[in-house]
Subunit: 415 residues, 2 copies
Amino acid sequence: MTEHVAGNGLLNRRGLLKATGAGLAGGVLMPVMAPVSAAEDWMTTSGAPMDEYGAPSKHARLKRVNIGAHPYGSGAGSSSTPLEKLNGTITPNSLHFERHHSGIPDIDPARHTLTIYGETNKKLQFSYEDLLAYPMETHTYFLECSGNSYSNVIFPEAADKTVGELNGLVSCSEWTGVPLHYLLDEAGLNSNANWIVGEGADAAGLTRSIPMKIATKNVMIALFQNGEPLRPAQGYPMRLFVPGSEGNVSVKWLQNIKVQKTAAYTKDETSKYSDLHVDGKADMFSLEMGVKSLITSPSGKMKLNRKGVYEVSGLAWSGAGGINQVEVSADGGNSWATAALQSEHRNLSLMRFRIPWRWEGQPAVLQSRATDDKGNVQPTRAAALAKYSKSNIYHYNGTQSWQVTQAGVVKNVYA
Amino acid sequence: MTEHVAGNGLLNRRGLLKATGAGLAGGVLMPVMAPVSAAEDWMTTSGAPMDEYGAPSKHARLKRVNIGAHPYGSGAGSSSTPLEKLNGTITPNSLHFERHHSGIPDIDPARHTLTIYGETNKKLQFSYEDLLAYPMETHTYFLECSGNSYSNVIFPEAADKTVGELNGLVSCSEWTGVPLHYLLDEAGLNSNANWIVGEGADAAGLTRSIPMKIATKNVMIALFQNGEPLRPAQGYPMRLFVPGSEGNVSVKWLQNIKVQKTAAYTKDETSKYSDLHVDGKADMFSLEMGVKSLITSPSGKMKLNRKGVYEVSGLAWSGAGGINQVEVSADGGNSWATAALQSEHRNLSLMRFRIPWRWEGQPAVLQSRATDDKGNVQPTRAAALAKYSKSNIYHYNGTQSWQVTQAGVVKNVYA
């Protein structure tokens, strides 16, 4: 027998799956008696030949969403991962979110170098080939734009959008590269080497300051993403990767690391990427991304076409470390049940959560709430908004609520 | 000070990296004093705009290798992952190896069903949409073709090929899908339900038998690969995924699972994918892939362009479980050092190993040897070959040896 673990249809996964005899039948889906499929075209004709570099099915209709062009210049803007089309935790490279400040440069690695200089004993310059011979590490990390989920901050009423359109400036990859501390050790840090300043080789020359404590912890010069060399849109041939920090500091097309006594206070960390409070003061260098979660299915603009059991599934992450718990509510936060955590990556990575839910046509509001391994709990929308000035769009990590109507239509709501 | 851990230049990674003062300088690479790069085109002109579905850099030249067309029919054959171009453990979907028996079908998921019948209480049929509502799991698994590395079996002299051309019928992905035992429980197994027989919806109608003990352990109906829906070349809209077993039983374009008392003995498991021994007898249903490892860098057709320290890096895996240890030799097996294991995925996944190696122009033969967590040790080439008849090309897991000449040229050798 299945067991209810919270209001409005949330079920115990273990109970559901261990049920003997009846199995999942009945509530879960309506299996029909049917003959073996008649032969379709694809069984009577030989299929397509192999190609050098594969592509998805035309039936899957996978593409980045919210592709924007910023009024300030060609190629500036962002594009978002269609989280509603994906499952698991890895984001395919072709669907990783993007944020560019002056388009995507096409860099020839043979003409690109990384220079480390400033408050160091030596000035060092590395070619791409040099770095490929260095000791590397491989880790799976999320990356989130500081401005992710801004629609739910700036619009007075909840916009009818998909989860990717609303929250798709977050993605997750297996990153491989050279730990930065090896290179800093080799350059030799002076006693007042308190910050590094990373500069990109794009036309925006994007430049960000990072405290040395973070720079020497787990930052890498990333060379590979999900196995293959970085894509141009992700910084080919090399980028900084700063795990758990706002995406903007993981400087793409990295060409210079200047070691300094103080931060640089560049345009990219003063006019943008600082967080205004109600009292007029602003946080600067507030790099760590907060604990956050999203239900990706069912989610905005989906429709439930039949009554029965659905898997409620989503993603959780925290810039402070790993995810310890994700709770799900089907009644707008009145009662909560603990979801199953299904990812193998536990630190600074996306975590997939899952819980079964029986929908019999009743109205519902689906929400999730993550807790990280430092004890941080994802705030409600109201609490997250109250933290900053109304004009601030950065570091929003409030609850995402999905309303399910009696017709099965799923919509973004503020709850 | 760096510490030698085996003959011919193998170094202690910890010692190398913890060296104070000098850092990695000197031996590792030759850093040069240089000014900050002069502005290249990509810094003076805005870059390309965003697109819906991204692509790699034209400079990276990523493509599958050994793209073959089988004489028996259009679209039959295999293509291999270019392991020498990759790092980390995940294989991007566009570069996953392929093996097709009658090309790649273009299946409309709305017209595709999965039927479970035979020795069951009920005959069940599932649409793609039905399965998307089921409880899913996410795991990172390797997949290896039973015929991987056949060049090193059939050629009397070692072919001068890349590691991908020689051994690239192995890849690794994060797979998400519905555990098969949920569906079998729902159908209800009769007392003589000893085998499942999976049939694909391709024109070859590829059909394989799997013992129930394996089918109910960790087999899934895979729907997503590295986050996105399966590619057509990998079985869209659904495939069986049988972790640790030869790739051929992970039947793509899965349309039928017939539950039987005995195996089906189809053409796909009798004329092929059975393993002939010297005495004329053959193994059938020898599904588990053996413990194996490969050095991917330096590897075949590469050239070492300077003396100094290189990272020797490669992949290890076992169909029996996880990898416990990988040893590396630089002197053709006379002495061995333990490599660092760098992957987060420990069970039935590719494992990345790494060890620093100082090359001062001396001739060398690089080898790796994996041990899995069941105590299985990868055999030498001679031992692996002695196990089967000379005409058998399946389940070869002997040592891969790379010769490094004094000129720095890296070549496949039999050692």
